[in-house]
């Protein structure tokens, strides 16, 4: 993947926009817990005060998987801002998470 850079849909610079995120997990697996933790940390760093995270456990309602088109877990879906983005994995790779959320990493957005 290319290094993240400013694009047309780079929304980081809009401080008034709210981020609506949903994290899909299956039960309390280590991967799920890790993903939740990583997501929260990243959001605090880049989107403090303007994000919501809804955690959905697919084991509680397996039919949601097909309805929401979730094949793998953990998956974060950026429902807002549009367009919808999906990030799959335990979110341990922060750079990839930022790419997936289309958030400019701190070091390139700074100064």
């Amino acid at each position: 993947m290319t290094q993240p850079h400013a694009t047309d849909d780079d929304r980081t610079g809009d401080p008034g926009e709210s981020w609506d995120l949903r994290l899909y997990v299956t039960g309390q697996s280590p991967k799920s817990l890790r993903a939740a933790e990583n997501l929260r940390r990243t959001c605090e760093e880049h989107l403090a005060g303007r994000y919501t995270i809804e955690v959905v456990d697919l084991l509680e309602n397996p039919r949601l998987a097909a309805d929401d088109q979730i094949l793998a877990v953990p998956t974060v879906v950026r429902k807002l801002p549009q367009p919808i983005r999906k990030i799959v994995g335990d979110l341990s790779d922060t750079d990839r998470v930022l790419v997936g959320l289309q958030l400019r990493p701190q070091r390139s957005t700074g100064t």
Binding site: A65, L71, V73, G89, S92, V99
Partner: protein, 576 residues
């Protein structure tokens, strides 16, 4: 080794202990001994458009409809609605099956541009939703189409691999019979090597286009613990779904009826020892214009007269054309068409691939239920197909028909020489050859019986004459210059007739002469006998006269002796 091969070819029966889940696909179940390995995962590999999805769907639909086994389809490529639309024309009512709780369709569309991979993951949602769906309808069958799209999307393909391997085991643990489909790879069976996890049964589908005609083939690469046909089998997608063509080489177990049926040509029946056996295969080959179609029409007419149904497939002419042409030789077949006994179907061989032709034939047979099928112009299949393909198709056509007890007559154009139709001729029971012979400025037709299995048959050549009242076979004249036909035969026959008349005349003459001679001699004989009798009478009179004279002499002597007082004894002695 030989034994193993033999088993492969002859024993397609189900092995004990290995339960099968029938696919409901004609032909395929035969090849794999009854069905897919029950409770196992089967891989169906093939290129795009090869028919993988359809095979899977038919497996689910057949299970639901015919065996009351609910199923789950997981599709990774299309929406549930689109899948249902695609197969509606085949009569697969997926919506209805879903309403009836016999089918669940789970659609996961994987869009790589929308997904970013960021760390470890698993396919637990797939397991969870599949598990929920299986439990909801009590599914016995599962199809995953095509799981390979999962590769290259989530970043780490080694995780995908591990998850798919886990999925295969998970499916087996649930006791469902599953099909996973995979894209054909260049060097491997599938593009991503999923055959490594799915190793109980592997079926490969192939779709080739040669000279604009498509041919689909199916091959069972692997069927663990079971004999299976290893050949490539053509298949087609008929209006009712996936059909693998009946197997030719595995079994030859159709019955052999003793009943003979008429060809509609009395003398031909006689040449064949009383007609052809019912459900035998007859090949009529000949050069152009030798009357092949007419011979076929004669059988058609004879069968319809017996009140039997007939399917007549024309590969070169239109039905109207043939009906008109046959009327000119006194075979009016239209009443049979009107009565619903005769179904005529015309199709250009180049219009479809070989397997599609077979599909149509199978469908026509199902619809018509004929006792006789006439295939007119099978040679035209050789365009754009290899000889072995054509032979293989012909074998399957003949099997398809024979297995149903249908008598077959196939006509084929050859270009002179007995060998050109050899490939097909080994498949048939009776082979009639028609030839044009040219002499004295005219062409005449000859019929030979080259082969007739199971019957004593005439080795003689007959002249084949198309008259205004049907076909007639006439003895040919064998003259000093060889076989004579047409006007030469007529001339020869006239000459023979003249000679015969002359011969009869000569005999009469001879007879008359001899008779005359006999009567002459009889007359002569009578004269001789008359003379003989007269001479005998004369002889008797001479004797009588001599006797009288002797008596007279004695009397005279006595008188004289008495006169001379002579001594009788002295006188007596003196006389001797």
């Amino acid at each position: 080794m030989e034994n193993a091969n033999l088993t492969d070819l002859t024993d397609s029966s189900v092995e004990p202990g290995l339960a099968r889940a029938p696919t409901g696909i004609t032909g395929l179940d035969q090849i794999i001994g009854g069905g897919l390995p029950q409770g196992r995962v089967t891989l169906v590999a093939g290129s795009a458009g090869a028919g993988k999805t359809l095979l899977g769907l038919q497996f689910l639909v057949a299970g639901a409809r015919e065996r009351g086994e609910p199923g789950v389809l997981v599709t990774f490529e299309e929406s549930a609605a689109k899948v249902a639309d695609n197969v509606r024309s085949l009569g697969f009512d997926l919506d209805g099956l879903q309403r009836d709780g016999m089918l669940v369709i789970l659609s996961f569309q994987v869009n790589p541009t929308e997904i970013v991979a960021a760390g470890e993951f698993d396919f637990e949602p797939l397991f969870a939703s599949l598990g929920e769906a299986i439990g909801r309808v009590g599914a016995k069958r599962v199809v995953l189409d095509t799981i390979e799209v999962l590769f290259g999307v989530f970043g780490d393909d080694s995780i995908v691999r591990a998850e798919l391997s886990r999925l295969a085991r998970w499916l087996e643990d649930r006791g469902v019979t599953a099909i996973v489909t995979g894209e054909r790879g260049d060097k491997t069976l599938t593009r991503t090597g999923i055959e490594e996890y799915v190793s109980d049964c592997v079926i490969v589908l192939d779709h080739r286009v040669r000279e604009g005609i498509s041919t689909r083939r199916l091959r069972v690469i692997k069927y663990r613990g079971s004999a299976h046909g290893t050949n490539e089998y053509p298949f087609y997608i008929s209006p009712r779904g996936f059909v693998v063509l009946p197997i030719t080489s595995i079994t030859l177990d159709y019955g052999a009826p003793e009943e003979r049926i008429s060809t509609g040509i009395a003398r031909l029946d006689h040449m064949l020892g009383g007609g052809v056996y019912r459900s035998s295969a007859i090949l009529v080959s000949g050069t152009a214009g030798t009357g092949k179609t007419s011979l076929g029409a004669s059988l058609v007419d004879a069968a319809c007269q017996r009140g039997e149904r007939v399917l007549w497939v024309l590969f070169e002419e239109s039905p109207e054309q043939v009906l008109r042409n046959m009327r000119s030789i006194g075979l009016d077949l239209r009443p049979w068409v009107d009565a619903g006994l005769l179904r005529i179907w015309a199709a250009r061989p180049a219009a479809f691939g070989l397997e599609t032709h077979l599909a149509l034939l199978a469908q026509l047979i199902d619809e018509t239920g004929p006792s006789l099928a006439v295939l007119d112009g099978i040679d035209s299949f050789s365009h754009g197909s290899s000889a072995s393909d054509v032979t293989s198709m012909m074998a399957r056509q003949l099997d398809l028909l024979k297995a149903r007890g249908i008598t077959i007559l196939a006509t084929a154009l050859d270009h002179g020489g007995e060998t050109s139709m050899m490939d097909v001729s080994s498949l048939v029971d009776v082979w009639l050859l028609l030839r044009n012979v040219e002499s004295n400025g005219e062409r005449n037709r000859l019929l030979f019986v080259l082969k007739s299995r199971g019957t004593a048959h005439s080795n003689q050549v007959r002249e084949f004459v198309l008259t205004g009242h049907g076909i007639e076979l006439i003895d040919v004249s064998v003259g000093p210059a060889g076989v004579l036909t047409g006007s030469a035969r007529l001339a020869q026959q006239a000459a023979e007739r003249d000679a015969e008349v002359r011969r009869i005349d000569e005999l009469g003459q001879q007879r008359r002469e001899v008779r005359r001679s006999i009567s002459e001699r009889e007359a002569h004989l009578a004269t001789l006998q008359h003379e003989l009798a007269r001479e005998r009478e004369e002889l008797g009179q001479i004797d009588l006269r001599e006797h009288h004279q002797a008596a007279d002499a004695d009397a005279d002597q006595l008188a004289m002796a008495t006169q001379r007082w002579a001594d009788a004894a002295h006188n007596d002695g003196g006389n001797r």
